[in-house]
C-alpha cells in the first residue's frame, strides 16, 4: 500500500467519525423543535445547528481528500509528492477541527467586533469557523493542490481525469476566499456567500466527486478509461453548464435584479434532465457490470447515488425552484427537506461507496458481501427518505399557513409552527433521524469488521 493510501485511511477514519458527530448534532437540533426549552441559555439551537452543518462540510471534504489521496498513486503510478507535508496537514486539520468545535461548545459567541470574527465565530452559515481556522483550511487545500500537481509533474503523466481534477482545484480554492470578509451590506454579503456555497456544493464538489466516481468505476466495475472520461466530460459540461447560472435560484430574494428570477428558474428547471440521463446510465452500468463486480456494497452505494441525486436534486428541487413557488417555500423546512436529500444523494452515497472500495483493498478480501452492509444501506436510506418526507410535510405546512396565508410575520410563523401538520412532520423527522443513526452504527460496524473470506482465490499483489 502506498504511503498516501495510508494517509487516505486516516482521512476516512476522521471523516466517518465526523459523520457521527454530524448525526449527533442533527438529532439534537431536531430535538429542540420538540422540546424548545432544552438546554435553553446553556447550549442553544444555533450552536447545535452550526456543529451539524459544519461537520457535514468537513466530513465530506475529508472524504473527498481521502478518496483523491487513495487514487492518486494508482492513477499516476507513483507515490504522491510531498507526503510528509500532507501528513502534517492531516494533523493540523484535525487539531483545528477539535479546537474550533471546543470554542463553539464552550465559548459559543463573542462581542460585535473583529476579535470575534478572528477567534470565536463568524456567524455566516456553513462558514462559521473563525478566520484563523479558515486560513487553516486554505493551507490544507493548498498543500493538497501541491500534492496533486507536483505528483502529476513528477510522474510526467496527465490523464483526462487528472486534468479535470487539477482545474477544479482552482475554483475550489478561489471561492473559499469568501469565507473571510464581513461585508456590512447583507445583499452583497449574501451575493458572494452564494458563490462560495453554491459553487462548492453545486459545481466544484460535483466535479470533484465526478472525478472520484470515474476512478471508482474503473476500479470497481472495470469500465474502460475512454468511456469513463467521456462521461466525466459530459458530466462537467452539464453540471457547469446548468450549475453556474443555476446560481440564479439563490438570487431571487436577496435584493438582486429581477432578471435573476427568469435566469435562476430556467437553469434550475433544466436540472432534472441531465439527472435523468445519469439514472439511465446507472441502470446501464448496473446491468452490464453487475456480474463483474466483487464489491457489492460499493456497487449499491454508487447506484443509490444516481437515484438519490435524481430524487433529491431533481424532484425535490423542481418542486420548489420556480420563483412563484419559491416565494412561499423559501426559508421553510421545505428547503431543509431538499437540502438533506440532495446532499445525501449527491455526496454521502458517493463517499460511502469509496469507503467500501478502501475496505476491500485493506482487508484483502476478494469478495465483499455479508449481511451487515445491507442493513446499513437499508437503514440509512430508509431513515433519510423518512426524514425528508417529514420535513417536506412540515415545510408545506409552513408555506401554506405561515407564508401564503399568514404573511410571514412572527404570529404567522408561530401559528404555522404549532400546526399539527408541522408538529407531526417534526416528530416523523426525529423518529427517522434515529433510524438513520442506527444505520450509521451498522455502517461503522460493517466497515470495521473484517469480511468473511469467501472463496479465497488469490490475494491481490499490492504495490509496496
Amino acid at each position: 500500500m502506498y504511503r498516501s493510501q495510508k494517509l487516505s485511511l486516516r482521512y476516512y477514519t476522521a471523516a466517518v467519525a465526523l459523520f457521527g458527530v454530524m448525526i449527533v448534532f442533527g438529532l439534537l437540533s431536531a430535538l429542540y423543535y420538540l422540546y424548545p426549552s432544552l438546554l435553553f441559555n446553556v447550549f442553544n439551537f444555533n450552536m447545535s445547528k452550526i456543529l451539524h452543518i459544519d461537520t457535514l462540510v468537513i466530513w465530506l471534504l475529508m472524504g473527498f481528500l481521502g478518496a483523491v489521496y487513495w487514487y492518486l498513486p494508482k492513477e499516476l503510478g507513483r507515490e504522491v509528492e510531498g507526503m510528509w507535508l500532507a501528513e502534517l496537514m492531516f494533523w493540523v486539520f484535525c487539531a483545528a477541527v477539535v479546537v474550533v468545535a471546543a470554542v463553539f461548545v464552550f465559548v459559543q459567541y463573542g462581542a460585535a467586533n473583529e476579535f470575534s470574527m478572528w477567534f470565536i465565530n463568524q456567524g455566516r452559515k456553513y462558514v462559521e469557523a473563525p478566520r484563523w481556522a479558515a486560513i487553516g483550511i486554505v493551507v490544507v487545500m493548498l498543500v493538497f493542490a501541491y500534492n496533486v500537481i507536483a505528483t502529476c509533474i513528477k510522474a510526467r503523466k496527465m490523464t483526462g481525469i487528472m486534468w479535470v481534477l487539477v482545474l477544479d482545484l482552482i475554483p475550489l480554492l478561489a471561492v473559499y476566499l469568501d469565507a473571510f470578509p464581513a461585508v456590512t451590506n447583507m445583499s452583497v454579503d449574501l451575493y458572494w456567500w452564494w458563490w462560495l456555497v453554491h459553487m462548492w456544493v453545486e459545481s466544484t464538489w460535483e466535479v470533484l466527486i465526478g472525478c472520484v466516481m470515474a476512478l471508482v468505476l474503473m476500479d470497481v466495475m472495470g469500465t474502460s478509461r475512454r468511456i469513463v472520461e467521456t462521461w466525466l466530460y459530459i458530466e462537467v459540461m452539464l453540471v457547469l453548464g446548468a450549475g453556474i447560472l443555476g446560481l440564479g435560484h439563490h438570487y431571487f430574494w436577496i435584493g438582486t435584479p429581477q432578471y435573476w428570477l427568469s435566469i435562476g428558474g430556467f437553469f434550475s428547471a433544466l436540472e432534472p434532465l441531465p439527472l435523468l440521463g445519469m439514472v439511465v446510465h446507472a441502470i446501464y452500468d448496473a446491468g452490464t457490470h453487475r456480474m463483474k463486480t466483487n464489491n457489492q456494497p460499493a456497487f449499491w452505494w454508487i447506484t443509490a447515488e444516481a437515484f438519490g441525486n435524481f430524487i433529491g436534486a431533481g424532484i425535490w428541487g423542481f418542486m420548489m425552484t420556480l420563483p412563484q413557488i419559491n416565494l412561499f417555500s423559501h426559508g421553510t423546512q421545505w428547503t431543509v427537506s431538499h437540502g438533506h436529500f440532495a446532499f445525501y444523494g449527491a455526496y454521502v452515497c458517493g463517499v460511502i461507496a469509496v469507503l467500501y472500495v478502501a475496505k476491500q483493498q485493506v482487508s484483502g478480501a476478494d469478495v465483499l458481501g455479508g449481511r451487515a452492509w445491507k442493513w446499513g444501506f437499508g437503514l440509512l436510506n430508509f431513515g433519510m427518505v423518512g426524514m425528508v418526507m417529514g420535513l417536506l410535510l412540515a415545510g408545506m405546512a409552513q408555506a401554506f399557513y405561515g407564508r401564503a396565508m399568514g404573511g410571514s410575520t412572527l404570529m404567522a410563523f408561530t401559528t404555522a409552527s404549532e400546526n399539527p401538520w408541522f408538529v407531526s412532520g417534526m416528530y416523523a423527522r426525529m423518529l427517522f433521524g434515529v433510524v438513520f443513526a442506527a444505520g450509521y452504527v451498522v455502517l461503522v460496524y460493517d466497515l470495521l469488521t473484517s469480511p468473511r473470506r469467501v472463496p479465497a482465490l488469490q490475494a491481490q499483489p499490492e504495490p509496496a
Binding site: 470565536i120 456590512t184 435584479p257 420563483p323 396565508m405
Partner: protein, 198 residues
C-alpha cells in the same frame, strides 16, 4: 463529428464552462451596481431616518418597500457616517451572535426562528412587545427585547439571552430597519396582511 471521442466532449465542457462564466461575470457586475448601498434596490444606510413601508405594487406584481417622510430612529436624525457606523456594528452583532443559525434574513439561514427580512415592520412589536416591555416606541421595545429576550417569551420557542449591550442592541435595531428597506422582489409576500392573497 465523432461523439464517441472524448475530446469532442472535452471541448464541449471547456467551451460551455467558459461561456457560462463570462455571462456570470457580466451579470455579477450589473448586480453589484443594483445591490451596492445606494443602488436601485438597496437604499443608503441613512434611510433609517425615514419611515419605511411595504405595499403591493400592481405593475411589479410584488410587494415593494416604500420610503416615506422623516421618522428618525430613537428620535434622532443620524448623518450618513453615523448610519454607516451603526450598520457596521449591527452586522457584526448578527454575525458574532450567529443570528442566522436560528433566523433567516432574505430567507437565508436557519429556520428555527422567524424570518427577519421585514421584522422591523412586524405588527408584533406594537401588539405584543410594546405593552409587554412597557416601552413607548417600537425601537425602544426592540432594544429591550434584544437585551433580555428570555424575559419576554411569546411562545414555547423563546429567544436565548445573547448578552447584547445597549449599543449593540440599538445598532441591531438600526440594521433591521435598513434591512426592511431593501427591495427583495416581493419576498416575503403579503407581509403583515394575513388572509390577503393577490
Amino acid at each position: 463529428m465523432d461523439i464517441e471521442d472524448p475530446s469532442f466532449w472535452r471541448a464541449g465542457a471547456i467551451s460551455t464552462t467558459l461561456v457560462m462564466l463570462v455571462v456570470l461575470a457580466f451579470l455579477s457586475i450589473d448586480s453589484m451596481r443594483v445591490i451596492s448601498v445606494g443602488g436601485a434596490n438597496v437604499p443608503q444606510y441613512d434611510v433609517i431616518n425615514h419611515q419605511i413601508g411595504y405595499t403591493y405594487n400592481w405593475s411589479r406584481r410584488a410587494d415593494v418597500p416604500v420610503i416615506g417622510g422623516p421618522e428618525p430612529l430613537f428620535g434622532k436624525t443620524v448623518t450618513a457616517a453615523e448610519a454607516t457606523a451603526l450598520m457596521r456594528t449591527g452586522k457584526l452583532v448578527i454575525q458574532s451572535r450567529a443570528c442566522m443559525d436560528c433566523h433567516t434574513i432574505f430567507g437565508n439561514g436557519a429556520y428555527y426562528g422567524p424570518d427577519l427580512t421585514k421584522s422591523w415592520l412586524d405588527p408584533a412589536w406594537q401588539q405584543i412587545w410594546m405593552p409587554m416591555t412597557g416601552k413607548a416606541t417600537r425601537e425602544d421595545a426592540m432594544v429591550e427585547f434584544l437585551m433580555h429576550p428570555d424575559k419576554y417569551p411569546t411562545w414555547t420557542r423563546a429567544m436565548p439571552n445573547l448578552q447584547l449591550t445597549q449599543d449593540e442592541a440599538r445598532a441591531t435595531v438600526a440594521y433591521l430597519k435598513w434591512l426592511s428597506s431593501v427591495d427583495t422582489n416581493g419576498f416575503p409576500a403579503n407581509f403583515g396582511q394575513s388572509g390577503k392573497q393577490p
